[in-house]
Structures are given as C-alpha cells and as structure tokens.
Amino acid sequence: MPTYLLFDVGSTYTKGCIVDTQKDEILAIANDLTTASIDIAIGIENVKRKMAPVLSKISIDQTLVCSSAKGGLKMIAVGLVPDLTLKAATLACYSAGAKVIGSYSFELNQSELKEIENAQCDILLLSGGTDGGNYEVVIHNAKMIASLAPKFPVIYAGNKSCQDEIVSLFRKANVDCVCCENVMPTYGILQVDQCRELIRELFLRTIVKAKGLSELSSIIDDIVLPTPMSVMEALKLLSKGTSTEIGIGDLMAIDIGGATTDVYSMNAHFVLKDNIGYKGLREPLDKRSVEGDLGVRFSAHNVADLKKDEPEYDHGMRDYLQQIQDNIHCDIDPDKDSVLAAWCTNIATQRHAGRLETSYSPMGVGYYQSGKDLRDVSVMVGIGGPLLHSKDPLSILEMTLSDPNHPEILLPDKLEYYLDSNYVVSCLGLLASRHPDTVVRLLKRNMEKII
C-alpha cells in the first residue's frame, strides 16, 4: 500500500497532502497562497518545502494532481431543446468538473458561431435528439461547428442514428471528434457516465498540454482530474461509503469562490414522495451545479443586486462593493464577506434544488415534482476558502435550509454542518478509485462538525 503526495493546484491556494494508505493516515498537510500570475510549479515547490520535515523521512510512491489552473476546464454545451438535451449536456459538463462558458439550443446561427469561435473553450459537447429522434438540427450544428475548423476537440453525445454522418463530417474538416452514448437516449432519461469519462480523458490528453501543465510532468506522475471532479469523487465516497466502510448518507456540499459557486448533492435514491408525478429530465443522483454569476469577489456585485431588498444591503455594503469593484484585491471585510457568502449559499442552493410545482385549475389543485427532492438530506459540507476563513461559517451554511415562505423549493428541513477545515476533500478525491476505503475513513475523520 503506497504513500501518495497529492496536490490541488490552480486556485488561490495550492494545497498539498501526504497520504499513507497503509496506515490510513494523513502524514502532512500544507497550503500556499498562490496568485494566478505565479507559476504553478512554484506553488507546488512552496508546499513541498512546508512539508519537508515529513518528506525527508519517507519515500513517496506517486504524486497526483488535480487542477483548476487557467480558469479550469471550460466547455461549451450545444443541444436541441433548452429543457431537454441542452440541459442534459450541461449536467454532463458539470458532472465532469467543467465550467460551462456557453450554451446553445436549436439551430446555431452565425452570431452564435462567432461567440463560440471567440470563447476559447477547451472542449465542445454537441448533443441533440433522442436516439432515433431529431437529427436535422444536430447535423446542421455539426456542419456549423466544423466550418470553424476549431482547435478544440468536440464530443458528440447526441442522437446515435446520425453519429456516423457526424463523425465523417468532422473528420473531413479535420476536427478532433470523439463520440459517446447519447446524454438523453430517450425522453427524460439522463445518461452522462460515458460522456463524463470521455471529458476526463480529453482533459488529460489535450487540456493539460494546452494549459502549460505539461512542464510539471517532471515532478508529478499523473494529472488526474479537474479539481471539481476530484471533489465530486470524494463527496460521493463520503456519502455512499464502500462495502467495508460505511458512508455518512445523503449529503449536500457547497464551494463558494470569488467568481462562481458550486453546489453538490449526493443521493442514494431518487426521491419522489406521496406518489406525485415527475416532470422533465430526471436529474442525476450525484449532481453538481455551477452558478457562474455567484461569488464573493468578481461576482459580488451581481449577488448583491439579487439581494437588494435585504436589510444587510446597506450603506456599508454598497461602499464595500465599490471597493471590490475598484480593486479586486482590496482589504477584506470578514463580516461583509460572510453576508455575501450567505447570499451566494441561499441563491445557489435554491437554484440547485427541485421544485414542487402546483397546477391550478377550476377542478382543484394538482402537484408534481421537477428536479431533486432534497428535503430529507441531513448533512451539509462547506468547502473552499471563503467559507473556511469566515468567522461564522454556520450562519452561511444555514442559508441552505428550506425557506418556510417557499415550501415549494425542496431544500433540507434540518441539517448537520461540517467543514473541510483541513482542505483535504479535493486532494483525497484523487485516490477515490485506487483506495476508496482509505478515502472514506480519512474524510470522515477530517470533517469538522460545527455547531
């Protein structure tokens, strides 16, 4: 059972830890503040220096890294109907740890094509049509995309009936195109596993090179995952456990950043209470959503705009927002940051959760569910800098609870709160497939309960 050196690079902090999988122990943990302008290799060296006392005594068998460097994995999703294949494609991107920087439905037009050309995405995911369903639109879109002669690879995950035609079309245009199962093979059914795996492979193959991470290959053995995917793998294990090490059950987690907020929910089963009907796409049991407009720095203004009517939106807050706008590295006001983080949590979790929709008619009221019912989830995990640095993380995480004024939003009624206070979640996710038992045990030990 080997010893691993694990890194999470590319965000504000470079995080590192040493894990002994024989003893199930974390031998060392260290962080280093890394500004984006500094080389990733320097961050790694700094972290290693901090761990030197331990490193000098042991031998490392493998070094693994997850990365969100240079803005993370940036994808564009193209689908047919916004609520169906486009949504399925978007969920597939999120589940692979990507950021969706553009999403397009129906037939692409020239101005959308221009946007795609200028967007500088890492991978484009093309979907559309159920198997045997619509093919005109997705073929049109494939031709449009091929006409760009794009440098980025394209994943085709649409109607299988026109897969051959689409592959040969891209091949003729010299576009790097790979295929996988349709993300929505039949109406309402989401199928993202193959697509997710393919995104991960492409991330390794092309992205790592393009993002200048290949120079690291001398000091690391494998760049394994995009950071959010590593986080997801860790949270999945923490929730479900393994056959020998039990998990802690259904959970939610949130990672609030400067520009974006990620929300995770891990459920063992699909919940549909009281035999009511379900509408729309069945969302994944392990779901990640990314809110590109919510965060405590770059997106602070936008968050505050959405909360204009709250009492905390006062003079002081407006001043603070102005300071942030003038200088993104301005002095931090911890109280105000906590308010902003609480707002992010409130909005992001509400968007993540499902809804109990009401249908009124002269004949009475009917109900159906769309999205995930998270009312019975009992654990909330806080990860990422702003939460861990806050003086009052509880007040932030509590914003996840269901709002009595909005019982239709299916958020938890009661929660226990935990913090990833040692910054281990993202690193430990790297060991998910190799040492799942160790990961579950270490995660359970390292989550700090807050009350």
Binding site: G129, T130, G133, Y187, G277, S361, M363, G364
Partner: protein
C-alpha cells in the same frame, strides 16, 4: 423499418391516468415507439418532447372537461416550434354535458388538430387512423 414515434399525455391539470396507460399499451402493441408524458402535461412539454424525439404524431387526451381551455393555441404553438408535419389528435371527454359533438369538433379543428374523437372512442380507431395518415401498411 424504424418505428414511428408518438408522444402521448393528458393535458392541463387533468389527473385521469387510466386511459393514458391503455393508450400507451395499445400504441406500443401496434408497433409504435411511445413517449408517454403521463398526466398534467403542459403544451410546452408536448412540443419539447416531439421536437427531440422527431415524433410523427401527438395524442392529446383531456378527460376532465377543461380541454378547450387547455388546448387553445396548441396548433399555432406547434407551428411556431417548427413541428409542421406532426399529426395532432385529441380525444377523451371533450364534450361537456350533453352538447353536440360536431360544433366541439369544429373548435378543435380550428385549434389545429387533425383528428378529434368523441367521448368513449375506441383507441384502436385512433391507431387505425394514424396508420392511414402515416401510410403505414399492416
């Protein structure tokens, strides 16, 4: 030959589910690929599903007496969404009380439906008509 897809569902706030299941069974048995949206289906759901699945027909059911309200604008919506060649059938309890069927049928035809069925219609009639309209030979 590839199976033709039919989207079915009960429109509006209508929860009558029994007929819907029978229709699914009958269409499936007759060799169609059925996308059943169940009960309480909005116009948008019918249209979205028909686009993605390349449906040849939509079977709308309304049992609770509000069909006229729920179906208003359905044909136009389909046209807006580019579903020009999709057959639109409607059936169930479209007549309220004991009024005549003919004027009701007229209303649904102006709403864009291709075929309109009176209460108590046999679904097999609908299937026969569908095969005829799609030129499917037995």
């Amino acid at each position: 030959m590839e199976k033709s897809t039919v989207v079915i569902g009960v429109i509006g706030a209508d929860v009558h589910a029994v007929g819907n299941r029978i229709i699914e069974f009958a269409l499936d048995h007759a060799g169609f690929n059925v996308v059943n949206l169940g009960v309480m289906v909005s116009q948008k759901e019918f249209v979205d599903a028909a686009i993605e699945t390349n449906a040849k027909a939509i079977f709308v059911s309304s049992l609770y007496g509000q069909g006229e309200l729920d179906c208003r604008g359905f044909g136009d919506y389909c046209k807006e969404a580019g579903l020009n060649n999709v057959l639109l059938y409607v059936g169930g309890n479209l007549v309220i009380g004991k009024s005549d069927f003919e004027p009701v049928k007229e209303k649904y035809i102006t709403m864009g439906f291709d075929r309109v069925y009176p209460p108590g219609s046999d679904i097999n009639q609908g299937i026969e008509d569908l095969k005829h309209d799609l030129e499917i030979m037995d």
